[in-house]
Amino acid sequence: MTTPAGVPSSSPRRTLWGQLGMPAVIVLMMVAFGSENPNFWSATNIANVSRQASTLALISIGQTFAILSAGIDLSVGSLLALVSVVCAQEMLRFGVAGGMIAGVLAGGLAGLVNGVLIAKARVPAFIATLGMLVAARGVALTLSGGLPVAGLPRAFLVVGAGYWGPFPIPTVIAAVAFALAHLVLSRTVFGRYVYAMGSNEEAAVLSGINVVKHKILVYVASGLFAGVAGVVLTSRVVSGQPTLGEVQELYSIAAVVIGGSKITGGVGGMGKTLMGVLVLAILSNGLNLIQVSSYVQNIVIGAIIVGAVYIDLARERRR
């Protein structure tokens, strides 16, 4: 624990577990579910799981940026609802492309508000995004009058239900987003700054990083990813829905920490988040397929969230 944050990741033992631990757990889960219900391994179901995981994946990418920078974004769940309503309403007015762009922009705009509140007005991220969580749902309900926005064009449904070759389109979108976010985080200056802000904000300021600007960018990014997620989800539910996304923000946080990124920031990455998303998605699909009641599923998922973080901590302490 006395070593600086960067050092443990270079130890071979850490690397081995860090690289293979989570994938091993996932494979184990898949083997177990598959042996209970062979349909788990069917092509339909694999497509199924990946399609179901796509929304969580997209908001978890945004959440990873926020958490790595030592912040948090509690608004992503509500943003799904806001984006869904805006996307559907504008789509009825301006067509498929117009609606999709409006939806993504709505997410980005909400993220900008979050970012300005956090970086400029110095409202703690937890509070600013908590406010947005409540307010965005209110805007969604107000815009829609509480009712689903129906009658979306047939062409739009492809986004949620269509295939690109053998891959469901939501899966492709999430995969591309993961790749993009990974590159941004590992190969760009912005990515390095996110880690720097998360490890030690004061040091980041002192070394001349424009923390205000980059913090705002972090939340804009989170909002934009929520925007894409909201558009995909809107297509999946064939309508604009002001009630979408409840508690999804908490699942996105769970995905990040199950993957092994530190909740306090500075340590982690997109690969880890991908693992976390897969664990949650495979778990809920697998438990459904082996017919575990949804009450019991909640207990299992709760235990896994805490358990995964505990194992990480225990490994660190042992060293």
Binding site: N37, N39, F40, S42, T44, N45, N48, R51, Q52, T55, G145, G146, L147, P148, A150, G151, L157, G160, A161, L233, R236, V237, V238, S239, Q241, P242, T243, L244, G245, E246, S284, N285, N288, L289, Q291, V292, S293, S294, Y295, V296
Partner: protein, 354 residues
């Protein structure tokens, strides 16, 4: 008086509950409000039965998806699905989404049932437009979908098993209008936004009020999640906003339970509260006179008929496109004369947790 009510009521329930004994349709009877029981004929034949088919030679697996199980309404249905399936040698896989706000989870559950290749899916939709894509994917995968209780917008379902929400709205409106003698101020707690039941019942209630009881004014209406705490909050606010409320319509009894508590706290005991369904607290508040009347949906019957329709379809028999289960209107005075076997799960019954 009492006797006059008991007989049609029992006749109706026997017809519904005792499967395959071919209860003879009784004639539609209406009594004055306060007197208690009215029934509306709306079966395959008026007041009729949808009989249990012969036990099929093979054992089918039926996936059942309901919005949640924290309301006896759905527990009653769950009992209907599971008990009827057992009688027909079928197996039920039951999923609940955790509430009307979890549309995405319900869609995943339907997809997971498709992936596990069940023979048929019975869907109680979280909302109309939101579920249509999932239904279409199931049907495209060759799995027939039976729609029960809360409707999906998809036209591709085998049949819709439901109590007629228009009739529920009309029964509440007529009771309200007549009990208020055609004069008064009413507020509406409509229920969960975007659900077919909240929409249709509320709209018909308003329409009948406007047409038949022009002396009754509707002061305000609100949607909310279908929970007692939402009902309590809404009714408290209504009572603050409008000092002279004489009646409160509730799309479901879940909000009525909260509304009754608000009314009790405000001391306005005479307020006419109408509802739909019959939870334990609903019964209690009816006996205490805080909920004036409730429309009883035969939730167990909805479950049974859903399974029968699924089996009939799987056995290549024709299924009517709509199956309307009968309704009853109950008041404090008529409660004890009603057979609850079609309305509620047996006391102490719990859905299996696997």
């Amino acid at each position: 008086m009492k006797r006059a009510l008991v007989i049609p009521c029992l006749a109706c329930l026997c017809g519904v509950v005792l499967a395959a004994c071919g209860g003879k349709p009784a004639s539609t009877s209406e009594t004055t409000p306060g007197g208690g029981v009215r029934r509306q004929a709306s079966g395959p034949e008026p007041g009729g039965e949808y009989p249990r088919p012969a036990k099929p030679s093979r054992s089918y697996t039926i996936g059942v998806v309901v919005p949640h199980l924290s309301n006896p309404h759905f527990v009653g249905q769950a009992y209907g699905y599971i008990d009827e399936a057992a009688a027909l040698g079928a197996k039920v896989t039951l999923f609940e989404a955790g509430g009307y706000q979890y549309l995405d989870r319900q869609i995943s559950q339907v997809e997971d049932l498709v992936a596990s290749k069940v023979d048929a899916i019975i869907l109680v939709a979280i909302n109309g437009p939101g579920t249509s894509g999932a239904v279409e994917r199931a049907v495209a995968a060759g799995i027939p979908v039976i729609n029960c209780n809360v409707m999906t917008d998809s036209p591709h379902v085998v049949t819709r098993v439901r109590s007629d929400d228009e009739v529920i709205g009309r029964m509440q409106a007529d009771f309200m209008g007549q009990t208020l003698n055609g004069k008064g101020n009413v507020v509406m707690l409509r229920g969960a936004p975007g659900t077919s039941w909240a929409e249709i019942r509320g709209n018909v209630f308003k329409k009948v009020m406007a047409e038949k009881y022009p002396g009754v004014r509707i002061l305000g209406e609100q949607y909310s999640q279908s929970t007692p705490s939402d009902g309590l909050r809404l009714m408290e606010d209504f009572l603050q906003t409008y000092p002279d409320i004489s009646g409160a319509y509730n799309g479901s009894d879940t909000t009525a339970i909260g509304a009754a508590q608000a009314i009790l706290a405000s001391g306005k005991r005479g307020t006419v509260v109408t509802a739909t369904d019959f939870q334990v607290d609903t019964e209690r508040f009816m006996r205490e006179g805080l909920i004036t009347a409730t429309v009883l949906q035969q939730t167990v019957v909805i479950g049974r008929w859903g399974v029968r329709a699924a089996i009939n379809h799987l056995e290549k028999r024709d299924v009517p496109t709509v199956l309307s289960t009968p309704l009853l209107l109950a008041t404090k005075d008529s409660l004890d004369s009603i057979d609850m076997r079609g309305v509620r799960a047996p006391e102490g019954w719990k859905p299996p947790a696997r």
